[in-house]
Symmetry: C2
Subunit: 354 residues, 2 copies
Amino acid sequence: MDLNSYCIIMAGGYGNRFWPVSNKRCPKQFSDILHTGKSFIRQTYERISYLFPANRIYIITGEEYDEMTRKQIPEIPRENILLEPYIRNTATCIAYAAYKIQEINPGAIMVVLPSDHFITNDAAYLQDLKAGVEFAGKHGGLLTIGITPTRAETEYGYIQVKNKDNQQKITAVKTFTEKPNAELAQMFYDSDEFLWNTGIFIWKTQDIIQEFKNHMYDLHALFTTDSKLNTPEESSFVRNVYGQCHNISIDVGIMEKSQHVYVLKGNFGWSDVGTWHTFHDLCEKDENNNVSNSPKVILNESHNCIVNVPQRKNVVIQGVDDIIVAEKDNYLMICHRKDENQIKRFEKYFRRKQ
Amino acid sequence: MDLNSYCIIMAGGYGNRFWPVSNKRCPKQFSDILHTGKSFIRQTYERISYLFPANRIYIITGEEYDEMTRKQIPEIPRENILLEPYIRNTATCIAYAAYKIQEINPGAIMVVLPSDHFITNDAAYLQDLKAGVEFAGKHGGLLTIGITPTRAETEYGYIQVKNKDNQQKITAVKTFTEKPNAELAQMFYDSDEFLWNTGIFIWKTQDIIQEFKNHMYDLHALFTTDSKLNTPEESSFVRNVYGQCHNISIDVGIMEKSQHVYVLKGNFGWSDVGTWHTFHDLCEKDENNNVSNSPKVILNESHNCIVNVPQRKNVVIQGVDDIIVAEKDNYLMICHRKDENQIKRFEKYFRRKQ
């Protein structure tokens, strides 16, 4: 792997769609919702450690997760954990990492990975990342990884390719689209022009910085004026910068505007596990299409349920269909699956109450 | 109140229809399911303590509940707690109390009360008990208390009066009927001949003993052969007797057979709180007909639910109708209300697993 390549794992966010199993104290990326024995972020780390040595892996997360990160991934150096004082979405998060690494290595190539995705076929995944790094290093521009849709999913963003007949692994991008409604999603799915947006990005730090300069000059100015990155004052500098940043995603702030965007068609199994619905898709079901995380859960004459409870808990569910039962600590949620989009409201409600 | 009158509170049984809120470790009668601040048995005790001094109140319960009984009702003498080594239904339970008290006072009148019923209008209730004791003392025979039905309930036993035009407070009984099906219950309700069977009985000990002699001679022989009741050997004697007894209710063993059965038409509000359904009837509902035992339970777009959880627990229920959610200790049950009759099976399953 290119010695100038760095991996940035983004581990912000509360995963509030999985409340109460995921919550502010232990967000989704630090949880083992799928009960694999390892948290999402640990899996992400182990997966990419085949490509990157620990000192070229950075994790960027909320400052309240410093200890949890160090505990779950003791391998990486302390200074590779970048702490965000506030949540300011992916544009700010990526800018912080980009400007910091650019100072360390002006020839750096960075791979930006979400910390909480589900990947099958690790070998194909690593091969794709490697090809991406090679492309970004040689060709330049902003490279994303897209996945060929297998259904008209409304919970993912989409990437439209410029020329759908281009059979190359990497092609130019025409548009970025946020989560579509059902009708639009069906059109995207049928058109063969759209890929799912994985939120994985690969570029040279100098290229993304040029794009910040062009499209988000305020942000560029904040990080470059009197920079204290990589000094003992980094933390207070970052706090000051974040205090002045807007909450904008990299997709909206840069990807939708840039003229230099490319997409690599990923060859691996991928899910962002962003909802209980996608969680249900990924898990083994019983004969009534129920998913449960514990052998102590008994489901009688119940169908299409999702149950995620503490392992010690005895649970009986009788004669109920299409519900999500999630318990953690002192919180129990029972939600009809049709109302899944309400869940993040509950998280917000209880977080504010605390 | 007649100085020969005694009150027997029957506190056996597991209340398994309320599992897991009621369970073998703390059955319904010792629980405060209605959240009044007092357990059912404590309420029963306090209610009848206006009629009986503590030394003429007996509690008969499983030997595993000795400590719980003494703790909840410290007022009554230790020797007034009769401990059953096994569950042998009401005929055996009542026989134990009857033969014991008969030895203490051959002229005794006993009032037998279930420990886990819900009563409104205590004054009317006490007045009815007093009238019953007077009747049993003067007239003899087996007196029960019936309640004029207010609906075609299938969960109660029924008492048919001999002459429905008899407007007397106390009348002769024609038949005892176990829980009817819906059609039969409707007929009973429409006929004006049937009363709900409260399971409250009043009789002279010598009268019930005569009936045991006539209809359950085996049981009579067991309790009278070499009786060690009211001696230091009572406990081992009772263990031996119970080991040889059958599991028969007083209704089946005596009341259905006896020619001397009367019913007093009770004038008070009564429910045996035998099911979540009756529990729901008794409790205050929110605007969507939900019943919950805690202000920490949030019910959104949910209807006709019953929620009974620990007071400390934060619960959100979203978009779900007609479910019972009950949690205690390490057990959580979510059951559709149409399947309420399954609940006792769950209790049995987990009791056997322990």
